[in-house]
Amino acid sequence: MSPVSTSNSRLIYDALKSCGVRLMSALPETWLVHLIRMADDDPEMTLVRLAKEEEGVGISAGAYLAGVSSAMLMQNHGFLASVNGIVSCAQLYRIPLLMVISQRGSFGERDPWQTEGGAVTENVLRALGIAYDRLSEPGHVARRIAHARTLAYSSNRPVALLLERDLMWEDAG
């Protein structure tokens, strides 16, 4: 059994769907496996599996202009790999993106290769002027996702939700 929380992944998935998301782009990473499987199993959801996360910016922009709400599921390193697309597509053209980012490399991280990204992700979000919030407790997941989506659409700007270890990982060690 993966220690990634199935029940909290379900909460996140249902909250995204409740606020109208009908397309998800994704590149697999450990914390996202259940979310990606839920999207794949849902006939009402279009799942687009990517080669690199930046493609997701273009796909979400196209879907948005065509009238379909989307979310981008990615690791924080995927967000870092997408920065030019975010700036020169989504921000330049005022496209609301709902970025759901697994915040690897925070306290408790055992994988040495995740640690640098964890240290810089929030600074990069702030430098880009992207509004973001953290998802760390099941009780606030639905409300924060709905609020993020609302601000994205009212401001015509990308927003980000950081999936934190306390929410995603059941192994307390």
């Binding site: 009908r22 080669a51 493609e55 910016v57 796909i59 196209g62 202009l65 065509a66 379909v68």
Partner: protein
């Protein structure tokens, strides 16, 4: 070489008029606008590589529309992985035209890897795009685009063109004006 991009765009224009068109920045955007802007044309004036991803996003969410992406060699080389994503979902309503002038024209004409033998149609075919072609004349390009639109199968057409562009790249159409026009068109509000 023999084909000028502006001549190719003029010949393709009747096919583009009723389709959703997404172009890259630079010469393609400026030349298409010089022939005639329409609300169903969107010019991605930066974010090199993502025009094909935007076209894919529209094609997947709007199966009722035929989408034509006008890409370039420099842009496609920045998002070769996107070919594998397009091939994975194979939307039959997406035609991907790549104007290959073997250079980064708008920044001074520096040669791209297609000038030293990289074959974008072969890369697209190997990525799994079901229909691919390389064309060198306006007539061959027009025929290939018409066939792809009629076949309703994902197609990448590489059009070899001269490295010649318009006198200016900035046009009178503001980026956001274009974006809101295009959104209204796609959502049936214009």
């Amino acid at each position: 070489m023999a084909m000028l991009r502006i001549d190719a765009l003029r010949a393709l224009y009747p096919e583009l008029e009723s389709r959703v068109v997404v172009t890259i920045m630079g010469a393609v955007a400026a030349e298409l606008q010089s022939i005639g802007h329409r609300n169903n044309f969107f010019y991605l004036q930066h974010a090199m590589g993502l025009a094909s991803s935007m076209g894919l996003g529209i094609a997947l969410t709007r199966p009722d529309k035929q989408v034509v992406v006008l890409d370039g060699d420099g842009s496609l080389l920045m998002n070769l992985g996107g070919l594998t994503t397009m091939a994975r979902y194979k939307p039959g309503n997406l035609v991907h035209v790549v104007f290959d002038n073997e250079s980064l024209l708008s920044v001074g004409g520096f040669p791209t890897a297609t000038s030293t033998g990289s074959d974008l149609a072969a890369i697209a075919a190997a990525a799994g795009i079901p229909r691919t072609a390389t064309v060198r004349t306006v007539d061959a390009l027009t025929a290939a685009v018409q066939e792809a639109l009629a076949a309703k199968e994902l197609t990448t057409i590489v059009a070899k063109v001269d490295a010649v562009g318009p006198p200016a790249y900035v046009t009178d159409l503001a980026l956001l004006e274009n974006r809101f026009q295009f959104q209204r068109y796609l959502q049936g509000r214009s």
